[in-house]
Structure formats: C-alpha cells, structure tokens
Symmetry: C2
Subunit: 193 residues, 2 copies
C-alpha cells in the first residue's frame, strides 16, 4: 500500500488506534525533497506540517551579523514544523532545509485543523507532538545553561549520532551554541580519550 509507514508512525504516540491511523493517513500528501531543497523559507508563512519518513532536515535563522544559526535538526520519524509560523499563520523567521534527499507526509493548516476537530485521537496525537517538541527544547535549554560545551557535544554524539552523517560541523557548532573553531578544538580534546 502507498501509505505503509505513516499509519505506524501515527500509532507510535500511543494515542491513535490502527483503524483511525489508516483513516487519518489518507489525508496526508506525500512530499519529496532533494538535498538542499527548502521546506520553509524565512519571511513566508509556513504551509506544511510534515511527518518525516526518510532523510534529515535542518532549521536555521540568522544572527544580527548575518551568520547562520542552526535552531533545530529533524530526523526520520519526527514531525517537522515551525511552531510559530505554522500555527499562528505569521511569516517565519526561520528556514528549514533538507540535509539529504527526504520523503515525508504533509498536511496543510486547514487539513490539520479539520482532522483535529473531527478525530479525537488525532487531537491527542497533535498535542503529544507539540508537547514532545516543547519538552525536548526545555531539556536543551537547561543543558546549555548547566553543561559545558564539551558535555553538550558528548551528549549529542551519544543521543543523535546520525546527525554527524547528515550535517556539517559548523551547523552542529551553532546548534550547540559555539563557534566551529571551538567545536574543532573540543573534538580534538575528545579524541584523546
């Protein structure tokens, strides 16, 4: 069948049953992205809520000097969306770009709302996606305050090793809140151990 992995993903949150997952899945549109394609561009209102089936993406913004700052990474079986632009229908301050060829399933804001108000289980699913992203960001925020750059690096290497296949080190550096030179030095120290 065309949608085989999407229903499984919908069920994985624990809020959606098998029958409902099949029904919900029919409303999604398959999207493909070539490496470097943009899913969202700065200044535009986000048009999609994407469940990523294959590949990886990166969200980034610019600081006041015009340097790219990576604000997030997305890997397969994750929801990809810019919360403020998508839900509040306002222009995005961020870009989201494919780090590799990607495949995913997409909903517009209207489609998502329709499902949200129509299918209680999808409401729970949608809420759990939001809650999970929010909680993960809280953890990241706390770790940037309490941990050293080296600890944050080690932690990322442990928990998301696949990122190092997809992303450049300078992308990872700005995600960790350090310069690429510092990351390079940290990696050097790290090899000694």
């Amino acid at each position: 069948m065309m949608h085989d992995r999407l229903p499984l993903f919908l069920q994985s949150s624990g809020h959606v049953g098998q029958r409902e997952a099949g029904e919900i899945a029919t409303h999604f549109t398959r999207k493909e992205f070539a490496k470097h394609d943009f899913f969202l561009k700065e200044g535009r209102v986000s048009q999609g809520y994407l469940l990523l089936e294959e590949g990886a993406m990166r969200a980034f913004a610019y600081d006041t000097e015009g340097n790219e700052v990576t604000t997030g990474f997305f890997t397969k079986n994750q929801a990809v969306f810019e919360v403020s632009s998508f839900f509040n229908r306002v222009p995005s301050k961020e870009n989201i770009q494919a780090l590799s060829d990607c495949v995913g399933w997409c909903l517009t804001f209207e489609q998502l709302n329709h499902l949200f108000h129509t299918i209680p289980a999808f409401r729970e699913f949608g809420r759990s996606v939001l809650v999970k992203g929010y909680a993960a960001l809280k953890d990241r925020m706390l770790s940037t305050i309490t941990e050293t750059a080296e600890e944050r690096y080690a932690h990322l290497l442990e928990t998301k090793p696949e990122l190092f296949h997809f992303a450049q080190l300078r992308h990872i550096a700005s995600y960790l809140g350090i310069t690429d030179s510092s990351l390079s030095r940290i990696r050097k120290e790290f090899l000694k151990k």
Copy 2:
C-alpha cells in the same frame, strides 16, 4: 461575580467567545498561594494547569552540583504548568514556587481533557497556550546562542521589568545562563550608560 477576570483572560487569546468563556470558567477552581508556596514539587506528577491572575512564580531545577537553575518565570495573565509532567503524567524534574502571594485558576488534567474534547474553542485556547510557550522558549534559546549576556539582560529588563520586583538577582542570573557575580558586574557596567 466570583470569576470576573478569568473569562476575560480566556477570551484574550482570540479563540474563545464571551458566552463560551463564561461556561469554561465555571470549571476552574480558585487557588491561592502564599509567597514561597510550591505549585509543583520535583519528583511528583504535576496536578494542575494554572491560569495566574495575580502574583509571580518561578520554575527551577538543579544542576549536577546541586545548584538551583531557574528554568522559567511566570507573571500574571500567564498559564503556569510544567509541560512534560502535566501532559505526560510523569514525575517532574522541576519545582514551581510562588515568588509572591498569588491567585489563580486551576484545572486538573482530567478537567482539562474534558473541556478539550467538549468545547472546540477551548481546544484552540489550549493549543495557543502551548504554541505561545513553545515559541517563546525558541526565542529564548536563540537569544542565548546569538546574544551576549549583557544583551540578554538588557532585553529582559525591557520586556519583563516586573520580574526585578519579584525575583532575586541570582534567580535571574541562572535564568540568563550566567553566575550571580557576572550579573552583578553586568549591572555595574550597565549603570554607566
């Protein structure tokens, strides 16, 4: 009437009409907190979703050396909840404590779910609360990466000056991701201007 400001707050998100706001408000329970009372204690499952009408609260966790780290501040007309513990029904890693005497309106998880599934406008309200908190945290995360400690301090002073009435400087320091000594020096520099 007993609930006078609560319906106004519910309406302020733009998703709840006047009639619905009154209906929704009847499900909330009034809660009072004395200064230093805990709304949530580390290790326990959060039992409440609070709309704060008066006063201020602080969320904090501990780093590996046992130092308090402020993870968030809440002031009046804000929703107060620990997203992970409240929505996932798991023990909290954070504490939430009143910085002053407080008054608010509270919902249990069951009550919130009931309203959520019963009243479409409340679904929108609940989602907008989550989205707003999530987006604010994204902004804070980006600013800790792109801005200097002094810029973050100046920004907080501009946007949330009332915090400086409620919170101690060391609470604000750890919220900004610096030590209290550093904050003290930054404030000294700041006075020169």
